[in-house]
Structures are given as structure tokens and as C-alpha cells.
């Protein structure tokens, strides 16, 4: 079995374990490449359907194309999409125009997510994080429990071996299920190419620049690139020395910024 198929088949296995283990599941959907791969894998696992809702945490700072993509893909994949916005923070005037990226990310992403979770009471969240994105994500588990405050107890994670997972959830708690944890950025692109998975066009170079990772537009910067096709992106990634999230300002605000964000519930 080739390398990509091996990853795909393990992800399908994880999806099915999650679906069997939990009564209610939600899959956050940023509409970025990873979360579109995630939808695709869910459809592989469940024979063409996504048997749980998607959740878009809308920071209100999405690139315009992302809203178009959301509308198109909702119909294309025939999925139920819920949208979570921290309206309260917007009313208080929290925004990139006036606040630092860590505060805004916390308010418009993490808190918006927490509110949506408190309302939806889902037992499990299926996330599209990968180990190669960030060293703290490298320490994650396929099934990663979160307490009532959505906090990650990274100092005492449950053991995980032989495909046996921590599937217990107490009241108010949830488990993050991470089916593409072992994939790399290159794997994602190879898979998009192999399967023909629809993605937004912001990833492709125009005038010598492209987005490698998509977030809120005020704090997401394009990288220098001439890769205008999937094949060119694949070729670029084979040789790059720039990290994937280098264009994501909130990661680099301070030492261990990601760890701090993630311990509080950020993906």
C-alpha cells in the first residue's frame, strides 16, 4: 500500500472510531485546505455523506473568497453548516484595527468556539490539525480530551497505543479527534491532487505571491511563490525551507505563543 493510501485509510479508521464512540459530533470547518481534506475523508469513511454538522467559526475577518467558497461547498458536499460568531466581542469593538493579534484571536476564534461548544454540547470535535504544523501540535494524540473549560492538559495526556483511544467524556467535556495528525503539508497537497478535492484559489500564486495557510486577512501574509498550480505547489514544498505557518502572525507574537493559545482551546 502506498504511503498516501496508508494515511487515508488510517484517517478513515479514526473517523469511524469517533462516530461510533460519541453521541454528538461536530467538525469545525475553516474552509482551508486541511479542513476540505477532512470533509473528503469523512465522506470516504461514511460512504459519501458527512453524518454530523460542520461548524464555521466566523471571525468576520475572513477573506471574501472564503465566504463564496463556504456557500458553494455547502451545496456541493451536501453538508449541514453552523456558523459561530462572537457577536459580543465585535460589539465591544474587539478587532485587528484596535487590538493585538493574540487578543483578537482569543476573542474571535477561541471564545467564539467555546461559546458554540457550550451551546451545541457536542461530545467530540473533529479537527484538522497536523503534527508538522507546530511543535506543540506534534505532541498531540488522535483522541485528545478537553476539560469543561476546553483546556488541554498537555502535561498529563492519556496514553494511546494499538489504536485504542481515550473515548470517555464527562459532562461538559469534549474530545478532540484529529484524523490527519500524521499527515504533512505535502501529503495534504498530494491528496488534493490525487482525489481532486475542491479548495479556494487563494493558495495559488498571483504576481509572485500565494497564501500557504489561511486565517484572518489582517494577520495572514502571503509567501513569495510562483506556484500557480497544485503540481507547482507540490514541487515547491519538496524544496522549501520556510515553515507553513510563517505567515500567521499570532503564532509568533511571543515565545511559546502557540502553546499558550492551544492550552486555552485554540486548535
Amino acid at each position: 500500500m502506498d504511503h498516501l493510501t496508508k494515511l487515508e485509510q488510517q484517517s478513515i479508521f479514526i473517523f469511524r472510531e469517533a462516530y461510533n464512540s460519541f453521541d454528538s459530533i461536530v467538525m469545525p470547518w475553516s474552509m482551508g485546505k486541511d479542513s476540505n481534506v477532512l470533509i473528503w475523508l469523512a465522506k470516504k469513511a461514511f460512504l459519501g455523506r458527512v453524518p454530523f454538522p460542520l461548524l464555521h467559526i466566523d471571525t468576520t475577518y475572513e477573506f471574501p473568497e472564503m465566504y463564496q467558497f463556504r456557500e458553494w461547498a455547502t451545496k456541493f458536499h451536501n453538508v449541514e453548516v453552523k456558523v459561530g460568531i462572537n457577536e459580543d466581542a465585535r460589539k465591544r469593538g474587539i478587532g485587528y484595527e484596535t487590538h493585538d493579534p493574540v487578543t483578537v484571536t482569543h476573542e474571535l476564534k477561541t471564545l467564539a468556539l467555546q461559546r458554540a461548544l457550550a451551546e451545541g454540547k457536542w461530545q467530540a470535535l473533529i479537527t484538522g490539525i497536523r503534527r508538522d504544523e507546530d511543535p506543540t501540535r506534534a505532541k498531540e494524540r488522535y483522541f485528545s480530551p478537553r476539560n469543561k473549560d476546553n483546556e488541554w492538559n498537555y502535561k498529563d495526556q492519556p496514553p494511546e497505543f494499538w489504536n485504542q483511544f481515550a473515548t470517555h467524556v464527562g459532562p461538559g467535556e469534549n474530545v478532540r479527534v484529529q484524523p490527519i495528525l500524521d499527515w504533512t503539508e505535502l501529503d495534504i497537497w498530494l491528496y488534493i491532487r490525487r482525489e481532486g478535492i475542491p479548495i479556494p484559489s487563494l493558495y495559488f500564486a498571483r504576481e509572485g505571491k500565494r497564501y500557504r495557510s489561511l486565517g484572518c486577512w489582517p494577520i495572514t501574509h502571503p509567501v513569495e511563490s510562483n506556484a500557480a498550480t497544485v503540481d507547482e505547489i507540490i514541487e515547491e514544498l519538496r524544496h522549501t525551507k520556510t515553515s507553513e505557518r510563517s505567515g500567521r502572525a499570532q503564532d509568533h507574537a511571543e515565545r511559546n505563543a502557540m502553546q499558550k493559545l492551544r492550552a486555552k482551546g485554540f486548535f
Binding site: 500500500m1 504511503h3 498516501l4 493510501t5 496508508k6 485509510q9 479508521f13 469511524r16 472510531e17 462516530y19 461510533n20 465522506k43 470516504k44 469513511a45 461514511f46 460512504l47 459519501g48 455523506r49 477573506f63 473568497e65 463564496q68 467558497f69 456557500e71 458553494w72 461547498a73 456541493f76 503534527r131 507546530d134 511543535p135 506534534a138 505532541k139 494524540r141 480530551p145 495526556q157 492519556p158 496514553p159 494511546e160 497505543f161 494499538w162 489504536n163 485504542q164 481515550a166 500524521d182 498530494l190 491528496y191 491532487r193 490525487r194 481532486g196 475542491p198 479548495i199 479556494p200 484559489s201 493558495y203 495559488f204 498550480t229 522549501t240 525551507k241 520556510t242 515553515s243 510563517s246
Partner: protein, 666 residues
Amino acid sequence: MSSSSANPQSAIRTPQSAGPLAPEIGYVPTRLAADYSIATTETARLNVVVVGHVDHGKSTLIGRLLFDTGSLMKGKIEQVQKACAAEGMEFEYAFLLDALLEEQEQNITIDTTRIPFHTANREYAIIDAPGHTEFLKNMVTGAASASAAFLLIDAHEGIKEQSKRHAFLLSLLGVGQLVVLVNKMDLAAYGEARYREIVAEYSAFLVTLGLKPAHFIPVAAKHGDNIATHSARTPWYTGPTVIEALDGFADIDNLSAKPLRFIVQDVYRWDDKRVFAGRIESGTVKEGDRIVFSPGGKTSTVAKIERWSSPERTEAETGESVALSLTDQIFVERGHIGTHEQDGANESQQFRARIFWIQQEKLRIGQPLTLRLVTQETQAEVISIEKIVDATTLSEVSRSGADAHVARHEVAEVTFRTKKPLAFDVTGSIAPTSRFAIYAGRAPSGGGVILPGRYFQRGKEGGVAENLFWSAGRITRATREARNAHPGMVIWLTGLSGSGKSTVATELERQLFISGRQVYLLDGDNMRQGLNAGLGFSSEDRTENIRRAGEAAKLLADAGVIVITAFISPFAADRERVRSILPANRFVEVYINAPVEVCKTRDPKGLYARAERGEIKEFTGVSSPYEAPVKPEIELHTDQVTADQAVEQLLEFLAPRLELNRDPQI
């Protein structure tokens, strides 16, 4: 397919054709047609774990490997330099992996990390495992997914506790390929003698585990000696470098050629169809194959292998997650294992296993546990601990009786009894279906591999089927006994009124009950109130009373219950009749012997006093004879020992008789 409203103002347009899915107008995302030939040429990715004692340099080695192979992203070195400066340290390669603030502050590895990395020949996921004893669960997490391991030993400190324990766990986890790195050679002045000493001592240890490392390599990870290139400081070493040894690990797939094991994860009932979703853990399945599901043995034929948006194929290979539809409406659920008829799985509710225990609380006999073996889950308990091994010395730990337990970080051989029958393989045959996780709480507390034994194997002649309660045909005494994991039997207490029968019987029942046995106490009171109402105390009535009690006890024993009776039962012939209606070794006569004088002084119900006054006629020991047993199985002198001591003596005597499959001569 419908498109959303167009946004003609948008500056963002698709830079390439969206293929057949493109509508004429409106937003179109980027999409190419599927091309399944993509990436089939990508090299496989091998998982390699780095283990060893704390501070022997695991994270440093990996950091160095990343550095020497040019695998680091831009800015990474600067980031680490910044972190080191904040901690007031010189450059620390380990910080490339020890990303948590707590890890950097304490300069330790808390949790396992996995990072992709490649040499000129192959892709790897390299797994850093912590060396502290308290993080052993994280080491297990990291190592369990690896195909090969580097084990580090500090040349200066030598072989330590985790050097040995980690090797033992590697062997248990099934990580067979091993290369030992003798690290920090700089601290041993790059001396060959010290290196040879460690090689000799450690080889001797590994032999006892059945592990044979492919190589020993002297290295100084911090300085890069023998990592990517041969070091001039160890001219006496001519073996491979670490990178060469890494590329030398084999990517072993020994499951494709094994018998089929299709593990059922779920049953999906969609679109008026019922499909069985699951994974091929070993072997291959084809449409039209006859499949038998264990446990239980139901059979059907594969009608179709279902996949979504994948090339149509009529077979599925090892590692594939597919869904099967069957030709027959049979009841199959999560946990079932589909096999071919001629190569079935073992099925049992009792098996021996070698386990490791990583939870703080001790594992004890009879403690309620949950076992998960692939997708099967059952409640279970340990019914005996045969051997406990100190994983750092391989010497046996001796603990018995009430103190019998397996402590954290120990390895043991134990026998499990499960509530539901399990389908499994034994270690050394098909790895994924021969190992299980043990849950004493929310997260895995340990794991184990099933040891070979005389188990029933579906499709094979000569298996031992007696411990299967679902076997075809009638439910027999044997099948019931197998489920209870103890024989159904009658423990017949006889003795004078006041000798202590009820006291002993009540306590015996309690003790057997809390140890998980099916047990029931029949005594004079509950019999005479119902079944034997109307019977008096004449000799005839007494004989009939005992006959009925005996028949009731026999029925319960037949149902698999341990029946305790507490009747005076004064006549030997009556007791012998009960013995005669039960199978051999299923009747235990217990003589509760206390002299009549002692019984009279106890006289808890005042019966002796009333008998002596003539108010009760034919009272045993006063006005009616008591025929003491000539050859009881056991005699308890309740005038010489306390009731509790008597119960202990009785339990001690019964213990071997409560086991199944015992030699009937005992």
C-alpha cells in the same frame, strides 16, 4: 450541483480549470479531476522511535539528525537560540522537539513528539520518547506505533533502569528492529574499551529478551560524531553511521500474507442498505468470499466491497478501511472479527497474557477492568497472577496471597476472565488481534499480549471448546461453568444445632460472592418456609426434608451455582443419597464438629433447653441420634477455632476445587 450567487466584483478568480465540475457562471473553486496514479511513487514513511534512560540524549540526537540532514525550516534555529538564551543555556538541540515551555525550563521531555524527516533514501517520522519513569505512558504511546527503535545509552553513566525497561517494553510492544547508540562518547574520551564494555553488558541483557540489535554505534550526538558522517575521533569504529543504520531498517509488512482478520467497527444502515464498516488488519478479502464471524461463528458471503469515490476493486487488502455488504441477513456487530472459514480466530472467555501496567494504582485480582482488543470491548478481571517481573532486572518479584498485585511499571503474566467471549489470536501470529489495552479508568492503564494456550479455534479440529458458553446446541453444565469460570457444586455443611453451621455458611457465602462467584445459601429456614412447608421432625419427615433440599441443591449446582447448605442432616444415609445424585467432585461434605456440651452452652435459640424440658421432641443430640460423617471431605472443629478461622480453613480447602479443569484426583 448548484452554484451560489456570483460575485463579479471579486478580484479572486480561479487560476485554472475546475474540470468537469465547472458551472458556467458564479464562484468555482479550484479542482482538478482525480488522478489515482499520484503519489504512488512516493516512498513509504517509516516510524522510528528513540528511547533510553533520562538524559542519555534522545532529544539531542533527534535535533542533531534534523540539523545534519537539513530538515529544519528557516527560523527554527533562531527560535531555539532565543529559547536557550531565555533559559541561560548554550545551544540546545533538544529544544527543537521539547517545545513545551515546561520542557524547556526543566530541560526534560514530558511528552512524545513525532516529526517528519527524510534522508536521501527515505521519509521518516521520528518519534521522541521521554525517559523519565513518570512519563513511561508517553514512552509507550510513542513506541507502540514504531517499526524500529534507536536505544541510547550514556557512555559515561552506562546502563540504567530505563535502558533496560525500555528494551523490555519494545519487545512487548512488538518493535523488533533495534539499533543501540552508545552516546556521549565525548565524556568517555572516545575510548573503545568503555564502548566494548557497554556493548558486552547490554548484549547479554538483550539476549534474555530475545532482542538482537542490528548494530551498536558509538556516537556523540551533541558534536555529531558518527551521526551523518564517520567521526575521526573513533577511528576504531568501522560500522555504519546513525543515518546509514536508519536507512538500513526494513519496512516490514508481515500482515498481508497472514490469514484474513476483518474487524468490524460499525454497522451503517443507510439508503435501505446494511453495510459492515471495518478494517482489514491482515490478509485479503474478495467479493464472493465466504466469511465466518467470531465470536459466535455466523457465516455469510461478501456481496460487495463498498468504497466512496475510489477506483472500483473487488478485493481489499491489509490496512484498508472498507465496508462489506453480505448476502445473508445475519447479526454482526462492532467487535466481530471476520475470517475465512479455514483460518478462524481463537475464542475464549479466559486466557493468559503478558501485560505491562502503567497506572499509579496497583492491578489486583478481581478488580473490575475493561479490555479492548481491536474493536471488541468487554468487562474482565484478573483471576490469577502467575509471574511478576521487574522489568529492569528481569528477576521475578515474589508476592502472594492478599498482597498479590502488579505495581506500576511492572510486567507480569496473568490469567484474565472476560464477561463476554473474545475473538483473538496469540502473540507471534497476527499482532493487531493478539494484543489489548486494559482500562481501569478512563484512559488505558496497561496493555498486554495473549500467550499461546489450548484455546478453541474456529475452523480447526481439536480446539478446546469447553470454555465457550455459546457453543452450538444445548447449554450444558459445562458451558455454564465455563461462563462462571468455576464449577457448580454443593458444599454440604452438617453438624449439631449450635455447632456453627449457619455462621460459617453465611460468611462463606459472603466471601465467595465478593470474589465473583455465583453462590447461594440454602438453609433450614428458607427451605422449611416454602418447599418443605408441612414437613415435621419425624425421622421420615427429616429424610424427606433432606431429600428435597438435596434435589434443590442439585438443580442449582446444575445451573452453575456454588450451593452452600446448612442443615443438621443427622442421618448418614440421607447425606450419601445427595452425594450420589451429584457428579463426582461436585459434593463436598463439611463436618462442623463441636461437642454437644459446647453446643448446649451456646444454644443461641434456646432449643437445647426446651428439648431437655421435653418441649421439643426428637431433638438431635438430645432425643434423636446424630450420625457423624465417617469420611467427610473436611472437618472443622468449631470448639477449637473461631468461626472466622473455620471459614478460612474451609476456603483454603475449597480453593483448588473452585477451579475448572482440575485433576479429579484432588
